[in-house]
C-alpha cells in the first residue's frame, strides 16, 4: 500500500508480484499488434456463422462466451443440422486443451493474486497474449496486470470482427460461387500447417488422419473431429518417452 493509498495504480515494489493499472495499460499497448490478426479471424468466423444460419446475436454471443477461434470454427462444422451439445463440448475441450498448459505455466505468476484478478486474466487469455506474457515474465516482469491488459484488445477485436463478418456474410448470397464455404477448411489447413512444426508432430498427425478418414464413414462429422483429436493425443502420449519411470537398473 503506497502512502497515498492508491495501491491499484502502480506496483508498490518492482521485486514483488502484483496487479496494477499501469501493468494493464502496458499489456493493452503491447496487445495491439495481436489484435489485428484476431480481428481478421473474427471476420472469418462471422462470415462462417452467417453461412451456418446463426443470427448476428447468436454469433456474437458465441464469440463473447466461448472466445476460442479454432474451437468455434470446429463446432460450426456441426451447426447446419441439429446442434449436438455433447460433441460440441468435447470439441471445445479438445481444441482448448492447450490452455491447460498455458494456465499451468502462468501458475507461479498468478497464484499469489486474489481470484478477482486471476480469473479475469484467465478468461481473456488467448494464444498470442499468453506467449507475449510468458516472454515478459521471463524478462522479470512481475506485474500480472500485463496478462489481462494484453488479452483485452484481442477479445474486443474478436467481437467486433465477428459482428462485421456476420454482416458481410449475410450480404453475400452465393457463397459457394465465391468459395467462401471453403473458408473453414482453408483456415483449418493453414492452422494445421502452423501447428505442425516438429518431427514429433508427424506420427500423431498421421494417426489423426487415418482415424478421421475411417470415422468419417461411420459417425457424424462432430465425432470425426473428436476421434481425430484423441487419436493424435494418444499417439503423442505413447511416442513420448516416459522419463518419469526411468531408474538405474
Amino acid at each position: 500500500m503506497t502512502s497515498d493509498g492508491r495501491s491499484e495504480q502502480r506496483c508498490e515494489s518492482p521485486s514483488r508480484i502484483c496487479f496494477s493499472r499501469a501493468g494493464i495499460l502496458a499489456g493493452f499497448a503491447a496487445g495491439q499488434a495481436l489484435a489485428a490478426g484476431v480481428f481478421t479471424f473474427g471476420v472469418a468466423f462471422g462470415v462462417l456463422a452467417a453461412e451456418a444460419g446463426l443470427s448476428s446475436l447468436e454469433a456474437t454471443l458465441m464469440s463473447g462466451v466461448i472466445y476460442s477461434g479454432s474451437a468455434q470454427l470446429a463446432v460450426l462444422q456441426d451447426w447446419p443440422g441439429e446442434p449436438l451439445i455433447l460433441p460440441a463440448v468435447v470439441t471445445i475441450l479438445m481444441m482448448n486443451a492447450r490452455y491447460l498448459l498455458y494456465g499451468a505455466a502462468l501458475r507461479p505468476w498468478l497464484a499469489p493474486l486474489p481470484p478477482h484478478q486471476t480469473y479475469p486474466a484467465l478468461f481473456f487469455l488467448g494464444d498470442g497474449n499468453w506467449a507475449l506474457s510468458m516472454k515478459r515474465y521471463g524478462a522479470n516482469e512481475l506485474d500480472a496486470g500485463y496478462v489481462l491488459g494484453s488479452g483485452l484488445p484481442m477479445y474486443a477485436s474478436w467481437l467486433v470482427g465477428t459482428v462485421l463478418g456476420h454482416a458481410a456474410g449475410s450480404a453475400i448470397i452465393t457463397l459457394e460461387r465465391f468459395g467462401l464455404d471453403f473458408m473453414l477448411v482453408a483456415f483449418s489447413t493453414a492452422l494445421a500447417i502452423d501447428f505442425c512444426k516438429a518431427r514429433a508432430d508427424i506420427l500423431p498427425a498421421v494417426a489423426a488422419l487415418a482415424v478421421a478418414i475411417l470415422c468419417n464413414h461411420v459417425a457424424p462429422s462432430g465425432w470425426t473431429i473428436v476421434a481425430a483429436g484423441l487419436a493424435g493425443a494418444n499417439v503423442a502420449f505413447f511416442l513420448r518417452r516416459d522419463t518419469s519411470n526411468e531408474r538405474q537398473a
Binding site: G37, A44, L54, S55, L57, S70, A71, A74, V75, P83, I85, A88, V89, T91, I92, L93, M95, N96, A97, Y99, L100, L101, Y102, A104, R107, L110, A111, F123, G179, M183, L184, A186, F187, S188, T189, A190, L191, I193, D194, C196, D201, P204, A205, A208, L209, A212, I213, N216, S221, T224, I225, A227, A228, G229, G232, A233, V235, F237, R240, S244
Partner: protein, 104 residues
C-alpha cells in the same frame, strides 16, 4: 436477430467448457504434475483436430477443394500468414469451380 433456446444452452455449455480449459491447468497445477507424456498429448491435440476437419473434405476428392487445400498449404509455407493462406485457398476454389462451369 434472435437466439434459439437450444442454441443458448449449447453456447453456455461450450462457454463453461472453454473457461474450464482456461482455468483448469492453473487449478490442477496444485495437484497434478504435467508429465512430459501428458504435455506431449495436449500439444498434439490442436493439429489432430484440424486434420479431423480437413480430412473428410479432402476424402471426397473434389478437384476444387483438393486444389484449394494444396494452395493454402503452399501459401502458408511461404508467407506464414494463416489469413492470407485461407483467403488464397478460397480464391483458388472459386476460380477452379468457375473454370469447371465453363468447361461443362
Amino acid at each position: 436477430m434472435s437466439v434459439r433456446p437450444e442454441f443458448m444452452l449449447a453456447v453456455f455449455a461450450m462457454g463453461i467448457a472453454s473457461f474450464a480449459c482456461r482455468t483448469g491447468g492453473f487449478l490442477l497445477m496444485r495437484f497434478v504434475p504435467i508429465t512430459p507424456r501428458v504435455e506431449a498429448a495436449l500439444r498434439a491435440m490442436p493439429l489432430a483436430v484440424m486434420i479431423g476437419i480437413v480430412a473428410p473434405v479432402a476424402a471426397k476428392g473434389q478437384l476444387a477443394e483438393l486444389t484449394g487445400i494444396v494452395a493454402v498449404a503452399v501459401v502458408m509455407k511461404i508467407a506464414g500468414n494463416d489469413f492470407l493462406a485461407a483467403l488464397t485457398g478460397v480464391a483458388v476454389v472459386a476460380i477452379v469451380r468457375s473454370a469447371g462451369r465453363l468447361v461443362i
